[in-house]
Amino acid sequence: MAKIEDKIDLYDDRGKKLLGDVPITALSPLRNPAIKKICGLVARTAAVDLAGLEKRIETGAIAGKQMIIRGKGMDLDIIGKGKEIAAQIKDMLQVEAGDETKADLVGGGKRLKVEVPAARILADYSAARTNVCAALTQVIIDTFGVSMWNAPDIKGAVWGMYPQDPAMTGTVVATLVDVPISNEGPGYTLRNIPVNHIAATVRKRAIPGACLSMILEESACYEMGDALGPFERGHLLDFAYEGLNANNMLYTLIKENGQDGTLGDVVYALVDKAKADGVAKPKSKLGSGYSVFKTDDLQMWNAYASTGMLAAVMVNCAAMRAGQPVPSSIMYFNEMLEHETGLPGVDYGKAQGASVSSSFFSHSIYGGGGPGVFHGNHIVTRHAKGQFVPCFCAAMCIDADTQYFAPARTSGLYGEVLGAIPEFAEPMKAVAEGAKEII
């Protein structure tokens, strides 16, 4: 198997160089310390809604708002005893004294961010959620001296509808990753995170949002067995150019077309760049004078196309200050790119294919979704691996709250909790620093 020898320069979301001459192998989720930390924290971090828990127990709305048992209310000052609860949870979860376990109050004491130690995850990442739920239940019972007769209500308020519903509907413990039963298939764990959560985490900044989204998508590709052997280089190139603004190509495409450029202008600017860099070369001229192009490096062409696709989405969506054009932008970026060159669209046609069904599902034609609740763990999005979902995240970052499912509405808790972790708030810098450590 050929060794991966490509090198790139990393730039941030404002076109500032972060690190030069980086071997793309240093961006692998299996090697880069920042990506490993991000993925680890995604699996290990839980957000507890203490204010919500207090209200549920007070009103008897135990497993969500429609499940009210009148006369079952208890007045427990959960927020008031937040510090005590946090300390007890930490004590219960930690495996070794001084390990990475954390339980910190955030959001003015209304929420609790818990990091479960890696040692608790033996084979199944669900251990993060189950252990936090169990610890919280026990701590509430202990702290407030809840009797045996009332303890099941505490359990119901914390765990939601578990075990009737293994997806734990109505739980006050949220994790970025969903329970395994909700995954589309093996290896999909990191793809099952709605883009609004990511948009809220990066404070609605489009390029870092796309980066964080792509970190998770590409990491999932490794877990899905999609980035193995000679296929790995393709994933790393896509990730470097589209997600990490390698060689400042993404930023330049947006900058040059931002003031008066159309989506078409981005397509043709990308083709010019590919020609100038020798990635696309003339193959033959047809009767009308139309030139068909070829490439000697199809994986590199795909990375260029992926970058152009994200830039095109950003230019068109930002001109409208709306997230809704993301599927059509993906579709016609690829359609126009293919018919300009004869070369294939992103992920060899799969991005365009996925955009068709995504259009339906994001425009209330088939049910009432919106791009903000999209993630890579769905039948209409999963086929393009890595390159597709970051476009949705970028679009939702740019959206001026035109969508019903806006990040502020769906993902405030995640934004507050995860946005406080530097690797999540500034993923581009974190990956560059991580790469620097290992090259």
């Binding site: 068109n316 200050r321 016609y332």
Partner: protein, 278 residues
């Protein structure tokens, strides 16, 4: 200079003309702006634009470099609602086709969200941007009063046979004809009442439609893609072959695949006779 799309036939040339933003599309009529508002039916004539958020300048936008680099459209800057205009194009040689419309708009407009369905093409945008697009695309050569319909709902008719006057079927009868043959709209885009009829004018003659169409059609003397302009199918074949190569092993040379050909396109025998099978 982009090449947009292949094809040396009149259809290929027209497609490139529609897609190329440097080519000005011929204006065939001049419908008053307030009549466009009537036809769309989103707001009353003279009514102010409704907004879904304050003007961008008054908003505290996130500290996002993309928002700083990309200028909002006039409608987005003002915080307009998002509205739509939708066209049905008859497959009997309407000037535009559902496939060409989004590519045309994506080359000519910023901040648009087109969608193609089986027989109609919608474009959503901020309200004042939609009105500008609607005005231009009702006025210009992509719109024929008989073969193109402005249809918000009950859109079908694109593949239905024409009436005795060569006009596309409309189940809601949004249009009527003046004695001189002019087509006028007596209902708005969704078939609702309008306070004043809007006259769009005479349909184009049949030979003129053939000169302007972007439809390949092996019937009624149309341009047959496979026989008359095979380079279009050749490029599609090339894209398909390249997609298949990438789906298999994108890290090998294409020439290493068994059956790879150096030239572009696939040769195949056409079994359909010219003019199609009725």
């Amino acid at each position: 200079m982009p090449q947009f799309t292949p094809g040396k036939s009149i259809v290929g040339q027209n497609r490139r003309k529609f897609m190329d933003p440097t080519k000005k599309l011929e204006k065939l009529r001049d419908v008053a702006e307030e009549d466009v508002v009537r036809l769309l039916g989103h707001r009353a004539v003279g009514e102010a634009y409704k907004s879904i958020h304050p003007p961008i300048e008054e908003l505290e936008e996130p500290d996002c470099s993309v928002r700083e680099m990309v200028k909002p459209t006039p409608g987005a800057a003002a915080g307009d609602r998002i509205r739509y205009v939708q066209f049905t194009d008859s497959m009997f040689f309407a000037p535009a086709t559902p496939r060409i419309r989004p590519m045309m708009w994506f080359n000519r407009y910023r901040g648009v969200d087109p969608g193609v369905l089986s027989g109609r093409t919608i474009v959503e945008a901020r309200e004042r941007d939609v009105e500008a697009i609607a005005k231009e695309y009702i006025d210009n050569e992509t719109f024929d009063t008989a073969r193109t319909g402005l249809r918000g709902r009950t859109v079908h008719g694109h593949s239905v046979r024409l009436d005795e006057n060569g006009v596309m079927f409309d189940a809601l009868r949004r249009w009527a004809r003046n004695p001189n043959g002019d087509i006028k709209y007596v209902k708005d885009m969704v078939g609702g009442a309008i306070d004043k009829e809007v006259v769009l004018g005479m349909p184009l003659p049949e030979d003129e439609l053939r000169k302007r169409t972007t439809t390949f059609r092996n019937a009624q003397g149309g341009t047959w893609m496979e026989e008359d302009d095979p380079e279009v199918a050749d490029v599609i074949s090339e894209i398909h072959w390249n997609r298949t190569w990438g789906g298999f092993q994108p890290f090998i040379a294409r020439s290493a695949i068994k059956g790879d050909k150096k030239d572009v396109g696939a040769k195949f025998k056409l079994y359909t006779p010219r003019g199609g099978v009725e």
